[in-house]
Amino acid sequence: MFARTVTWWTVLRISVEERLVYRGDFALSTLMRFLPIVTQIFLWWAVFSAAESVEPGGGATRIVGYAYHDFVAYYLLTMISRAFSSMPGLASGICRDIREGTVKKYLVQPIDMLSFLLLYRIAHKLVYYAVAAAPFALVFYLCRGFFPAGWPEPQTLLAYAASLLMAFLLGFFLEATIGMIGFWFLEVSSLLFVYMLFSFFCSGHMFPIDMLPGVWGELVRLIPLQYLAYFPAAVFLGKVQGPELIAGLWIQFGWVVFFIAASRVAFTLGVRRYSGFGG
């Protein structure tokens, strides 16, 4: 048990150090990532000023329950959600390992692939938060006007933290499960692209999913993608409250458990199919 802990600790430490090598580039690219929000701010201003001129609401115009500042706040908050839930290169990395045969190293070494990748990801995320904290704080400070209600209540904040943490786990295991498809198909880059597309659209990264009308909205609420970006942001903004909030957190938890199991099953089945050649 002790030896194992030491192993995992070493993995975590090495990953952290590896990641810190490029910290300058990192902080800069984090700041750059907020640029698209600038265009969104102006786009929604144009939308709201037009809606206002058609139906004067004295500056209180709302679109699907969102005031102008809510929209901007929403986009800023999805950046935080995505900082937890996005897993760049996870699924494609697993597929590449399978295709090129490097997945063998997990099979012959006494290291579990999913745990290793999870630790590696945690290390990356920890470094990311350490480096990205400053740019994030700067942007949120400059944009504090878009949060007229200020900080939410402690309970809401607690729920928000829980939803973010689960967003990370869900993002990891969901993508890992998708990566396992590599055991069955050799070339999956276009499949991953389509997933990324759906994720961008249905997770609420592009717009709050409340905007989807009728059956589309219900459909998107049924699939787990909304917990990657929309749900934590909605919790913070107080869009989901009381019993609805509790239920939402439980459903998110359910999806996390589901994908932990699914990734395990897919890995076990995949390894059974896998045949490594050469060396």
Partner: protein, 285 residues
């Protein structure tokens, strides 16, 4: 043997070779076409949603000189222009530019430098990505549909000017891309090239009128006069949407500036590219 290669024939050969290559993996080609088209269609879906909640983009009042607000189908015409320009850039240059930083990292640029043809030409057009033309079709289709819904038939002069300024737009985008790619010689590796490109060109994707106010005006100025991405789509789109009679000073000044910006961008990026080649030190062996 001719001293100077025929650039047109080389270009056609590049195009043919790429097509042969794409057609070898036909399934992959189709998937690529459809996946990039579905991205476009999803984006379109977003704007359809937006226009369910507002009839126009931007109120006409108190916008002064830039008073022009975009209705649904006017905006879709704008969007189709974005699609046309972006798909042309992607088809012709995108793959090559990202390949370029790879050439530098691996040292394979040596081979390009040795060939008896202009290096910039060679590395910019080597590979034509035919799959991206699907988006061009979507763009043209969307433009046709929007014009039909607007009940608006552009004159031949309008179409001619539109095509001219689309070409200018493509040239400006290309200059920006090649300038960004050239920086990878200095930086050794430029993985975030595509990101950077995406973030900058993001500003070309909306009508410039939406940028106004204490923050918007400087932004509009910056992305018009310093990095001219905002005129890339705005200028051609305007020719298609408004009658050809100039209504404000900017209706005349902006296209004139677009021509100037195209020339300056091309020359400047060419200069930057040549300068960066001087710093190339090759890699490995």
């Amino acid at each position: 043997m001719r001293a100077r290669p025929s650039y047109l024939r080389v270009l056609l050969t590049f195009a043919r070779n790429s097509l042969v290559r794409d057609m070898t993996f036909r399934g992959n080609f189709l998937i690529e076409t459809f996946s990039s088209m579905s991205w476009v269609i999803m984006n379109l879906g977003f704007y359809v949603l937006v226009f369910q909640h507002t009839p126009r983009l931007g109120a006409v009042t108190d916008w002064g000189e830039y008073a022009f607000s975009w209705g649904k189908y006017e905006f879709f015409l704008f969007l189709s222009t974005t699609l046309v320009i972006n798909s042309l850039v992607q088809t012709l240059f995108m793959e090559n530019a990202s390949e370029f930083s790879e050439l530098i990292r691996t040292g394979k640029l040596d081979f390009a430098l040795l060939k008896p043809i202009d290096t910039q030409f060679l590395i910019s057009l080597q590979r034509v990505q035919w799959a991206s033309l699907g988006n061009l079709a979507v763009g043209v289709g969307l433009a046709g549909y929007s014009l039909f819904r607007l009940g608006w038939t552009p004159t031949a002069a309008q179409v001619g000017l539109y095509l001219l300024f689309v070409a200018c737009g493509v040239a400006i985008m290309y200059s920006l891309m090649i300038a960004l790619a050239a920086t990878s010689i200095w930086l050794g590796r430029n993985q975030s090239l595509y990101d950077f490109w995406f973030y900058i060109t993001n500003f070309s994707r909306y009508p410039m009128e939406i940028y106004h106010g204490p923050l918007g005006t400087p932004l509009r100025m910056f992305f018009t006069f310093i990095i001219p991405v905002m005129i890339v789509v705005n200028v051609p789109a305007r020719f298609l949407i408004r009658p050809l009679v100039p209504q404000t000073v900017s209706d005349l000044a902006l296209p004139a500036f677009a021509i100037l910006a195209t020339i300056v961008s091309l020359v400047a990026s060419r200069y930057l590219f040549q300068r960066s080649l001087l710093s190339y030190r090759s890699a490995s062996s």
